[in-house]
Symmetry: C2
Subunit: 358 residues, 2 copies
DNA sequence: TCTAATTTTTAACGCGCGTAAAATTTTTCT
DNA sequence: AGAAAAATTTTACGCGCGTTAAAAATTAGA
């Protein structure tokens, strides 16, 4: 063994250096096991006999060798990489989901890579392009939605086993996992109607996210079902700065005094956060107490929604269920070789969170 | 050319398939250029004659070939990867910085990889461990701070060219780029003192982030300089759920009526967001108008701080300057082979943002 | 204890590309 | 046009590991 080397340090003292192990060959001979077996071990530790596994792991602790991932992935038909793509990472909603998903992937022995489209089509296309050459075992993709290049996503899904989440694009990917927008809206509308005036619906005129359209439809159908007249308040603006859009739209509506009811249901929490700040600015008191002139509710249970003033009544995603099910679906997809018999859509219901704003 | 292949589709129709190019050899012969030259091109397009560059790029469009990144990175002494590590990606502050940094790296021809320690030491260690085997050209690291395993970070910085940002750890990495905490606090304290009662300082008792300690010191020294008596309000709590910590701490303080002044300076915006929500809950009117009983200010200019109620007066990071300078420092570090003569610390001053809370 | 089944070893090839040296071609400049 | 400089081609090796097939060793089972 030439593993120990004497090195003369600047201060004159001698130091024993443990040579870094250069490759699997070296590590194998050091641990007294043949390289193919070691290779087999790294592919799947349970595929070798317990006794040899112990010997390898023992050597692993002594020499802390790690196989070269580039050489590994070059020759593997499939890597252990998993791509996670979200439309906007600066949105705490996605940041939170990503955190959970990432953890699950690591626990299952995969290497997750994070990507954010930052709300731009060009970036989403670029990410998918790069992802292809990463040869990932699978991808969890939350697409931009309306802004997505459908054909780019379609062609990507043909090449890479993909599970869509958060926002659905009809027919793409092997499965979709998300929240049931109807469940969100029906609960908030029902609650608001039961406890006061029926709500009008505050949203962006041209929402980027397909969930927004589903929520509008759910609002309309729910109001019809209750025999109530729907009112939609569309606000202008594009991009992902929802708070600012909600604030400006809110100021406009409040200044015009054009609200048809004293109850506003926002399409999502980030719009609501902006709307609430507009209310505060205009001195409009929000809440369900007497002395309040407006009720505001919303959807998503954004991580910040409990710190708004007043705290926001909202319908919560089942974050854990969505994340877990998305990951598990992807694992099944990977195990079954990249295709499922039929495209599966899983929708999880919302949970109404009653706080102070409505 | 054997690029075209007839394939019999399930429905019986024939389809012409353009064969995927398998490797650089094939692409080279197809474009009429030798493989070493093509390899050279991919390493640095400007390193080949313009005419051959044109020919390659022309062929590139026809055949859309992309070199195998694993094979590339295996043999390169240095990859074009850049690691970006932040302590908590769900914090919009980091999400925003990461977004800017990511873009700069891509524009410079690098492949950034994102990692979040999610506030956990074990994860940070694991990330650095994985990062090592990615052989990155360089790493931009925002460490956890107090929770970081100093020796793990030190050993990492010895192996990989690293620039620290956001929070400094004395002597580690080749450079540090961040904001000047003294500039933040001196501006807010001076402003608050000039326009009303001097502030007390609201912060976590055991902050994870080293910036918090610097801010406390800055507050103390600033108050002393102004000949004022400092008051520190330490609140309990650990982890990264600052809003909740600020809210609970705020409720406690407000209920006890123990605030020594009518002006509260929070260590950071996320604490302030929680504190403001506590004020609202307790019916304490915040702002500088008459009728308000409390002024609240803070530091960071968190993306959400302009949507609080009232909007938050705060000292803003120069996001762009910090991001740009961190990236440029890393690029210089990479170009100079991984070491700078001396460890450089760059601090950028804050900009006071006057809003409605103080 | 002996045989069959399982696991490991030996030996060898290939993956796709970086890289180096020498030979050749092309360009540049006087 | 001719020589020097620059770029490209040819040839060839190596990187670290996946993978395979046949041989050898170990284990399990009766």
């Amino acid at each position: 063994m030439f593993l120990l080397r004497r090195v003369c340090r600047p201060d004159g003292r001698l130091r024993l250096i443990v040579n870094k192990i250069r490759n699997m060959e070296e590590f194998a001979s050091l641990s007294g096991i043949s390289r193919p077996t070691v290779s087999k071990y790294f592919n799947d530790p349970s595929s070798v006999r317990q006794s040899t596994r112990d010997r390898i792991e023992e050597a692993l602790e002594r020499y802390d060798y790690r196989p070269n991932i580039y050489a590994m992935n070059q020759n593997r038909r499939l890597t252990k990489n998993i791509g996670i793509v979200v439309p906007y990472l600066a949105d705490p909603f996605f940041a939170e989901i990503v955190r959970v998903i990432e953890r699950r992937c690591i626990d299952a022995g995969f290497s997750p890579s994070l990507f954010s489209s930052h709300g731009e089509q060009a970036l989403e296309i670029g990410i998918l392009d790069n992802l292809r050459s990463l040869k990932p075992a699978g991808v969890l993709l939350a697409p931009l939605g309306r802004l997505s290049d459908k054909s780019a996503i379609e062609s990507f899904c043909r090449d890479v086993p993909t599970v869509l989440f958060d926002s659905n694009i009809e027919g793409m990917g092997e499965a979709f996992v998300g929240s049931d927008n109807y469940s969100f809206v029906s609960q908030t509308v029902e609650y608001l109607h039961r406890t006061g005036e029926p709500p009008c619906f505050f949203e962006m005129r041209n929402p980027a996210n397909p969930n927004a359209n589903k929520r509008r439809k759910a609002y309309l159908s729910m109001m019809e079902k209750l025999g109530l007249e729907p009112h939609i308040i569309p606000v202008e603006g594009s991009g992902w700065r929802f708070e600012e859009i909600g604030r400006l739209g809110g100021l406009k509506v409040l200044e015009a005094g054009s609200l048809p009811t004293n109850t506003v249901l926002c399409s999502n929490d980030r719009l609501a956060i902006g709307f609430l700040s507009a209310c505060y600015e205009k001195g409009v008191k929000v809440g369900r107490d007497k002395g309040c002139s407006l009720r505001v509710a919303s959807h998503d249970d954004h991580p910040f929604s409990r710190f708004t003033c007043p705290s926001l009544t909202t319908a919560a995603h089942d974050y854990t269920a969505v994340s877990d099910h998305a990951v598990e679906t992807l694992f099944r997809l990977i195990e079954s070789g990249g295709t499922l018999e039929t495209r599966q859509e899983s929708l999880f219901p919302a949970r109404l969170i009653m706080r102070d704003s409505a």
